[in-house]
């Protein structure tokens, strides 16, 4: 069964045009914005006919560059915004017609400062408050909160305030909000943004194991391709308000990359060498210089990896370059992303 259905969703925002700070028109910019809108050209098209379905228990990821419409889409599914057109259904409930019923099925976890905690309450009090918001009685919410803190491994810190938690622990507490409400669908915006590598690993591991175990449906956004590949069953790639590709990480890789990636790290590799490398039988070459141009990292995508590796090493060495490292590997989602948005 489908947990989330999104069909042909459109959303646009009014574009507020400013007329210079400090000027009379600038101060009345909302008047100008209204006039601008009346002329029918003052809108930003955030979503342009987005459609997809997410099955029950599936972990679904949305990736794309900044401004692609990911957050707007999450807000529309999370009943924080009403779409201008289209249909969104969560666990069989139309979110536009029955927003309150739909909200009972969804937990929305934002990113960054939007942590959604009351910083003056303890962890257990925060969870009680959240339980109350989902209609539990005080005693039910209290016993649920204690139980869930155990599940997320924070029971020892039950009486601490969120400010005393590490970033990873805070993110786990955010997830606990959804566990206490027992919502079948979670929407998480950038689950590991701002976390240190250890905290991010902890949260990823937790999501991977707990969500599958509990059978929750998760839709999340991320800019970390490794994270998308590691967590998601399927990935949607968004650009300028549209979904341009959708599929499992393997399907996306197969679709966009028929070959392997050669990683090379070398010294003294200049433009003439790069030109020669490009003339080989390669699909794509990505490179970036480090240490003021002394070291270069090359990612060569090709269908003949081992032949090209030999030829590339010959070219680099014959042009007085020094090889630090070379390897052939399977392509990752990041390679797919680079090919789509290069």
């Amino acid at each position: 069964m489908d947990a989330v259905v999104v069909e042909d969703v459109y959303k646009r925002y009014p574009k507020y045009k400013r007329y210079g700070p400090g000027t009379a028109l600038g101060r009345a910019h909302w008047v100008m914005a209204t006039l601008y809108r009346l002329k029918g050209r003052g809108y930003v098209e955030a979503l342009k006919g987005v459609s997809f379905k997410v099955s029950e228990g599936e972990i679904f990821c949305i990736i794309g560059p900044n401004g692609a419409g990911k957050t707007t889409l999450m807000k529309c599914i999370g009943v924080m915004l009403i779409p201008d057109k289209g249909y969104i259904e969560v666990v069989g409930i139309d979110v536009v017609k029955n927003p309150l019923r739909a909200k009972k099925k969804i937990t929305v976890v934002g990113s960054g400062y939007w942590a959604g905690f009351d910083w003056s309450l303890t962890l257990v009090e925060n969870l009680i408050l959240f339980g109350l918001m989902y209609g539990y009685s005080m005693s039910e919410a209290r016993s649920k909160a204690k139980e869930i803190l155990d599940v997320v491994g924070l029971s020892e810190k039950a009486n601490d305030r969120p400010s005393k938690l590490s970033s990873g622990e805070r993110q786990r507490l955010s997830l606990a909000r959804g566990f206490i409400a027992e919502t079948p669908v979670f929407l998480i915006d950038e689950p590991t943004v701002g976390l240190d590598p250890e905290g991010a690993k902890q949260v990823r591991g937790y999501i991977k194991s707990e969500f599958k175990k509990q059978g929750y449906t998760l839709i999340f956004t991320t800019h970390f391709m490794y994270e998308a590949e590691y967590l998601a069953d399927r990935i949607a790639i968004m650009d300028r308000g549209k979904i341009i590709e959708i599929g499992s990480p393997e399907e996306l890789k197969l679709k966009f990359i028929r070959g392997k990636v050669i990683d090379i790290k070398a010294l003294n590799v200049y433009k003439n060498v790069l030109e020669k490398l490009r003339s080989l039988d390669v699909i794509n070459i990505d490179y970036f210089y480090r240490f003021g141009g002394a070291e270069v990292n090359l990612k060569i995508l090709t269908k003949k990896p081992y032949e090209i590796l030999e030829e590339a090493i010959d070219i680099i060495l014959s042009h007085r370059g020094s090889l630090i490292y070379a390897d052939v590997r399977e392509p990752t989602l990041e390679d797919v992303y680079r090919i789509i948005f290069r």
Partner: protein, 284 residues
Amino acid sequence: MVLGYEFKKGGCRVILNIAIETLRSRIFKEYFWGVSLTMSIVDTIVGILAYYYVALFVQNAMERYVSAYGVSYAEYLLIGLMAGVIATFLQYSLYEGISLGYWASETDLYITSPIGLKGMLIGHMMFIALWESVILATYALAALMLGIPLHLENLPQIVLAILVASLPMIGIGLVSASDFTLFNAKRGSMTGKVFSILQRIFGGYYFPVGILPQQLHIVSYLLPHTYFYEAVRIAAFKGVWITQKPELLYPLTIQGIILLLLGVLLMKKAIDKAEETGDLSRWT
């Protein structure tokens, strides 16, 4: 309007629970900033003393304007200031509730839950009511210390005057709160600012409107505050029931109905717009 909770069985209890938790959290936050709380009370006391001595200073000049009430100007001023605390609560608490929730990123949390904003707003308004009660008590204490009578024997008349006048004040409160999302959250309440300016000059808050030039009286007559302060003062000083004064009762009732209808209409429009544009969320 989807930013509310379904008032089915138990809905009110759920909202009340949330409101109490919000109140508790706000009290803790204020307690946490104990120095700021103490300074606010000190500031209020200093304000009262300043008003009191200014009132003594201008007593002779004000005599002919306040003699009709049979009280000193200090007494006249203090009752106006105390009524002003109540008017401020009625006019701004809803706006303040939304504003506090928005800037604390609480609105994000509440609008994603099925409860909606009601619990949070009621909680914040309860806190503001508590805070205004502290200010009112400070005024009362200061009045007792300065020997200014509070006319508590006329409390029922004062309460009725406040109840009648609360209609237009709540209407203004709804209009002010809808500003928040209709215009722009970061711009604050323009309606609130406009009424605050008007009432201080034309509303009979500090001085009787008779002092103003004749041409400006029209503004005073259009403001509900003028009737409100007058009704409270005659109730306190002379024990007059507002029902005995049709020249105060009718304007307040008519303005109350108009402003309430306008307030409800604008509030609905503001909530619809907030849902359309996501204005109540700080998550971008």
